[in-house]
């Protein structure tokens, strides 16, 4: 039985075991139908031209990992930003781990999707927000059909959330291969500000496929800073689907740091509903081996006077493959839009590959839009300069790569996170440069 059939046949059992109201049940039933009709995307789909899921779909994934594995804080500490005070929502093999988490209902909800989907007090929220901006493509529909657990965050208006929120998904390899489908719902009301860090981490070498969906609603004048840390091992794959609806004068930034994993696909979509909105999409990708990272972004400018800024840097070594597909749509009404996009790449050898494709669709006539992509090697003259000052080749290369990625790193607003990313980059490059940039 292939994975698609297995998933479809699991759906019935799944629907019977979980307690949900009919509203959610209807959405799920429609979603599984969509997935059944469309199946997994293939390279024939324009959006998947450079990324094939074949090599990760052939594993015999367990769709519902059975028993809960015993994980202690010390097993996961290194994957947390542990030296800051933060809220934590921790999942082990898709199940919530209360003893590793730190949630709250005090003046805001930082808790679980399972609660939001089943408790009557959240019914209205679910009707207003759940699955409202997730598109009906096959992978998102698959997640919707099986949506049961994840982070549910609702920040009411005028609230500055003092501590960052960390959402952590661990897989234990308790099953020989595991498929996870976390579902996050994040609502930030008027004038509120929140910082969120998300990470998916496999704790063993057993294959894991995560198909995650996150819906983020950034209401009027709200500020959301979202950071994705992707540094998983070579048997873990991630399809991250993140959809963001912004209302007027809101600012939402998503930083994606992709340093690991077997195959990573980031579907990141911003929809601007209101004026004077700012959307910021930034990423650093540093991969080697046979790793594959695909950034597929979309910003839809719908109303006037909004901005978007995309800046993705990629460094590819060994046989690694990178994809950047950045789409900007400026609708007819969206006059005075400022939309900027850059994608700069360094290929460290002849075998690494980058496919980069900017797509601008502009229907308004008074806008400022720019895009630019570069593909190059490390500058030999710069390398010589550093080496002539006594900095060995490996460190000199690392320094140049830091310099290359620096302006993305600069905009990380949580100092401890920035430090951690610095360290991850240094580890990735195999150097100990010994200073923070």
């Amino acid at each position: 039985m292939d994975l698609k059939e297995k998933l479809i046949s699991s759906f019935l059992a799944f629907e019977n075991q979980v307690d949900v109201d009919t509203y959610v049940h209807d959405i799920r039933s429609k979603a599984i139908q969509t997935f059944e009709d469309k199946g997994f995307p293939s390279k024939k789909d324009e959006d998947w031209k450079y990324t094939s899921l074949n090599r990760i779909l052939k594993e015999d994934y367990t769709v519902f990992p059975k028993q809960e594995y015993d994980i202690e804080y010390r097993d996961i500490k290194k994957y947390l930003i542990h030296d800051i005070d933060s809220y934590k929502i921790v999942f082990i093999d898709g199940k919530y781990s209360s003893h590793l988490s730190e949630t709250t209902h005090d003046g805001m909800d930082i808790c679980l999707t399972s609660a939001a989907l089943s408790k009557p007090k959240y019914h209205l929220i679910i009707e207003n927000y759940f699955n409202k901006i997730a598109p009906k493509d096959s992978l998102t529909s698959l997640n919707t059909a099986f949506s049961s657990e994840g982070a549910y965050i609702h920040i009411p208006k005028n609230k500055l959330v003092q501590k960052p929120i960390q959402i952590l998904h661990f897989s234990t390899g308790n099953e020989s291969a595991t498929m996870l489908q976390p579902r996050n719902l994040i609502i930030v009301d008027e004038n509120s500000h929140v910082q969120i860090i998300e990470r998916h981490q496999s704790l063993t070498e057993n294959p894991v496929l995560t198909n995650s969906v996150t819906e983020i609603f950034t209401n009027k004048r709200a500020i959301v800073d979202y950071y994705k840390v992707q540094n998983d091992n070579l048997n873990a794959s991630l399809i991250d689907n993140t959809f963001i609806k912004q209302k007027q004068e809101s600012i939402c930034s998503v930083h994606t740091f992709s340093f690991g994993g077997k195959l990573t696909r980031n579907n990141l979509r911003f929809f601007q509903h209101g004026e004077r909105i700012n959307s910021i999409l930034k990423g650093i990708t540093i991969i080697g081996d046979k790793q594959h990272v695909d950034h597929s972004t979309l910003v839809q400018h719908i109303e006037p006077n909004c901005e978007s800024h995309q800046d993705y840097k990629g460094i590819f070594g060994d046989n690694a493959v990178g994809v950047f597909n950045g789409k900007v749509i400026v609708e007819k009404e969206a006059q005075k839009t400022n939309a900027f996009q850059t994608n700069n790449n360094i290929l460290l050898n002849d075998k690494a590959t980058i496919n980069t494709k900017p797509q601008l669709e502009i229907f308004a006539d008074d806008v400022k839009c720019s895009h630019g992509c570069t593909i190059g090697q490390l500058d030999e003259n710069a390398l010589f300069y550093l080496r002539a000052r006594g900095i060995p080749k490996k460190e000199a290369k690392a320094l140049l790569m830091y310099a290359f990625a620096n302006n993305v790193l600069e905009s990380v607003k949580i100092p401890k996170l920035k430090q951690r990313i610095n360290k991850l980059i240094a580890n990735k490059l195999g150097v100990n440069i010994g200073f923070d940039l």
């Binding site: 710069a382 010589f384 002539a388 006594g390 900095i391």
Partner: protein
Amino acid sequence: MLKITNLHASIDNKTILKGVNLEVKAGEVHAIMGPNGSGKSTLASVIAGKEDYEVLKGKITFEGQDIADLAPEDRAHKGIFMSFQYPIEIPGVTVTNFIKTAINETRKAKGLNDMPANKMLKLIRDKAELLEIDRRFLSRSLNQGFSGGEKKRNEIFQMAMLEPKLAILDETDSGLDIDALRIVANGVNKLKSKDNAVVVITHYQRLLDYIIPDFVHVIYDGKIVKSGTKELAHELEEKGYDWIKEEVNA
């Protein structure tokens, strides 16, 4: 200290140096002059170890050791420094962090521990003062947005920090106004001692009014065709390079 014998070097299969002989002893200042395209900067790059150049023939020894096969960083660790004609911009790495890294990597290569932070800071402060460098300048990204003069001053600042045995200044005077030239020359003179040596590569004589050379060499078509004292530099300033070319071609 530095001894170059019959050095031939090429880049992209084009031979640039065609038999250079040069000996530089500790305590000496040498000037290498010559028209454009004569091989001045190539000589500097070959001594510093730029890998684009291939040494075809001849020998380069530093303190008695053949260095032709050493990596640039290994040469730097031995005390060879080259001030670049066109210093590279490196965004995101501050002048301070860059020089710290360079010093500590050099110490590491010698089996020493990192320099203690307070000692490093004092050293940076002292050398910055010597070159009349503003403290704020040190926290800027390396060479990014620097004026021509700032870049060159920053090169000499790095030289002051690294205290090389042999400093090669490649066209350090180009793009400098007279004040910057004076500051740079002053810095070089203060760093001079009987134990180190300086090779000044320049097209013009004016820097040599400030850094007085013991020897002046003229390089033309990949060879040193004339050597003399500082008077030779004045003669070149007055008469240009044509008479040298005529002498060689005669």
